[in-house]
């Protein structure tokens, strides 16, 4: 078989771009990465502050760096729009529409698990307890109170992996070329 050299790959690697989404601000709609939206404290449209905090805490335990990468702003943006435009992996898992109901039920179930198994609400768990909680969610097929919590864990984990590693900047962290075939046009690129 013909071989393609690493040098050729690297030569074809293009410069990084980031994941830009349209966020509504009082001054108008702007294109921001989820990371920028978090840094600017863009108001959330769908997630309540309490739910956002719990999602952030879970996401950060699953994929360190997810908070700074703007996981909750990414989720809030995706859960607020047309499901046909959603960039969530939940669509691949045949999650019933609307996706926001699934995320609401998932975070409530995780909180219920924390209260039952660790005798504290999720928001009050320390880092060791968060690891214990996530470990109990991450066993394939796990359900709690009739809810498929493993499926929720997989979706949230994938969302967190997307914002931390699924962008050109994320590829760079792994020292692999992104090799962007075509640059997203203005309006897609923050």
């Amino acid at each position: 078989m013909d071989q393609f050299s690493r040098r050729t790959f690297v030569e074809r690697a293009l410069t990084s771009s980031v994941m830009g989404l349209a966020f509504a601000l009082p001054t108008g709609t702007v294109l921001l990465t989820p990371e920028e939206a978090r840094a600017k404290d863009v108001p959330l449209r769908t997630l309540s502050p309490e739910v956002a905090q719990m999602l952030e805490k879970l996401g950060e335990t699953i994929v360190p760096g997810a908070t700074a990468a703007g996981l909750t702003h990414f989720l809030d943006h995706q859960l607020s729009g047309d499901p046909n435009d959603a960039l969530l992996i939940a669509r691949y898992f045949q999650v019933a529409l609307p996706y926001k109901n699934f995320y609401a039920a998932g975070i409530k179930t995780a909180d219920d698990m924390a209260r039952k198994n660790l005798q504290k609400p999720l928001a009050s768990l320390d880092s060791n307890q968060m690891e214990t909680l996530v470990k109990s969610m991450s066993a394939p097929g796990t359900a709690f109170g009739g809810f498929p919590i493993f499926l929720f864990y997989m979706c949230l984990r994938s969302d967190a992996v997307d914002v931390v590693y699924g962008t050109p900047a994320g590829f760079e962290k792994l020292n692999i070329p992104y090799m962007q075939h075509i640059s997203p046009p203005e309006g897609w690129n923050g």
Binding site: R91, R157, D162, I176
Partner: protein
């Protein structure tokens, strides 16, 4: 009240692979052709290199209800918008084998097709010339007779070379994987640049998606494509013997009647069945073209197993053509599975691995989280190998598409899937999983593991057949009940084989399209 438009010769419902073939053949034959697509219009420049953005190419709404017990992974397999599912397909294009067409006659299992491989061969040969396939036919020792590929194999990376060692060590044969991806420039299209974004859509047209090959031909010949048009019903005359057109809803919510002399449904497996069932009328009380009661039945999906492993070498797994570098069909004989299951299997070897998404590095082992996940990803990006085992599914009338009691925004019932994997398919999956780990270890993997059961390629629901009581369509993909109604896509397959479905969907569509073009005057309403 619905607005009625001027009559056209042919309405094609669905802008995917089969629809593109019908559109090109019929428009080039001088017919007026309108392609209606429920999803958005899409240009090649919309195909951004990103696993995240690629999710918009796939299905989400209206919801397809998977009632279980098993899943056909509808949303992952289906597409929406111009290009359909083929806009995000991997373009791995082996042919069905001769025995796939005669399983009932030869083995007393499954269902015979209404024709044999020899009858379909010229259409495979024509399609591979049209799209510019790459491969090495001589090295595919299992391949049925056919013309050589017009182009040499797509180049590989160390990934394929390392995994080949395992097959060699176990005395198994491999060949360059046949792909509808250009290894060299062909008919004005450029060669693949091996960036591994095939399933995000290939914007340069090196991969033969519908927007790269057949739709440009159709448009040049005068066909029209219209997005955001949801076909709700196929209409018939009072006798029910001829279709008269379709009814569709626009994005603005307007109901429109488009009269046509012939209708071709190419809206993918589940939607085709849903539209036919939703088109019931007094002449067709159980659904259009459903005198057999088999519209929606015999739904199939290939059981698939991902094999993953860590190696000591740099694998260059981030690059290449996404669908793999090598193919092995040593266990293709219907009775060759060492576990004793009936049916065929194949290996697609050396698939591109990106960090994220369903088939990416992170998801290969979802139990890992926290600090360990970064190390796993960093190691995986350098040292991980991957291949996929695809197993045959068996047709069963119990596996079906039906109409749900809930309705979507257009007033159409949701599609509801009832599906159970075949016992043979489950057993093939189990032996493939064990064999795959063994191959990886023989190739030098320091650790190897499998994915949970998955599903690839959705087939059946509107199957071809000779017996009108046991099938929906005849050998020309024409309804047994309604002469000017045709169906295209993998939904017409009576058996699934274990090979990727898109090449055969093209070949069968080309056969049907040529028949319709040649017999238009006797078929039309």
């Amino acid at each position: 009240m619905a607005k009625t438009l001027e009559k056209v010769d042919v309405v094609i419902v669905g802008a995917g692979a089969a629809g593109s073939v019908y559109a090109a053949v019929l428009a080039e034959a001088g017919k007026s052709v309108l392609v209606l697509e429920r999803g958005p219009a899409r240009k090649m420049s919309d195909l951004y290199s990103s696993q995240i953005w690629a999710r918009r190419l796939k299905w989400s709404a209206p919801e397809v209800v998977e009632a279980g017990p098993d899943s056909i992974w509808y949303n992952f397999n289906a597409g929406r918008g111009f290009g359909g599912a083929a806009i995000h397909h991997y373009a791995v294009w082996p042919r069905f084998h001769a025995e796939d067409f005669r399983e009932h006659s030869l083995f007393g299992k499954a269902i015979d097709w209404p024709f044999e491989y020899t009858e379909l061969r010229p259409f495979y040969d024509q399609v591979q010339r049209d799209v510019g396939m790459s491969g090495d036919a001589k090295q595919e020792i299992w391949r049925p007779p056919g013309d050589d590929y017009p182009l040499p194999p797509v180049p590989g990376t160390n990934h394929g070379k390392v995994l080949k060692r395992g097959f060699d060590a176990l005395g198994m044969h491999t060949a360059p994987i046949p792909m509808a991806v250009l290894s060299q420039p062909y008919n004005g299209r450029p060669a693949c640049i091996l960036d591994g974004w095939c399933d995000a859509g290939c914007p340069i047209g090196a991969l033969a998606n519908p927007m790269a090959v057949y739709f440009p031909r159709a448009l040049k010949a005068g066909a029209r494509m219209q997005a955001d048009s949801v076909v709700t019903r196929v209409l018939t005359d009072a006798s029910g013997k001829k279709v008269t057109g379709v009814e569709y809803r626009t994005g603005a919510g307007e109901t429109v009647v488009q009269p046509a002399a012939a209708v071709v449904l190419c809206a993918f497996t589940v939607e085709n069945a849903k539209i036919l069932l939703s088109s019931a009328n007094s002449a067709h009380p159980h659904g259009l073209g459903n005198s057999s009661g088999l519209v929606g039945r015999n739904l199939m999906c290939h059981p698939a197993v991902g094999i993953y492993g860590m190696f000591k070498e740099e694998m260059q797994n981030y690059a290449g053509a996404t669908g793999g570098q090598l193919l092995c069909q040593d266990v293709y004989g219907k009775k060759s599975d060492p576990g004793g299951a009936f049916g065929s299997r194949q290996w697609e070897i050396g698939l591109v691995l990106k960090p994220n998404d369903l088939l990416g590095i992170a998801m290969s082992n979802p139990t890992i989280f926290g600090a360990q996940l970064h190390k796993f990803l960093a190691d995986g990006a350098r040292f991980m190998g991957s291949m996929v085992g695809v197993c045959e599914d068996q047709p069963s009338r119990d596996n079906r598409v039906e109409l749900d009691s809930r309705k979507d925004a257009n007033g159409m019932p949701l599609a509801r899937i009832v599906y159970t994997k075949s016992d043979d398919g489950k057993r093939l999956w189990a032996t493939a999983a064990a064999e795959g780990v063994k191959i990886f270890k023989a190739a030098g993997a320091t650790q190897a593991w499998t994915s949970p059961p998955g599903g690839q390629h959705i087939m059946g629901g509107t199957i071809l057949g000779t017996d009108r009581a046991a099938s929906v369509l005849n050998a020309q993909s024409q309804s047994h009940d309604v002469a000017n109604l045709f169906v295209g896509g993998p939904g017409v397959f009576p058996t699934s084989s274990s090979v990727n479905s898109t090449f055969t969907a093209h070949a069968v569509a080309l056969k049907g399209a040529r028949y319709l073009a040649s017999n238009f005057s006797s078929v039309k309403s």
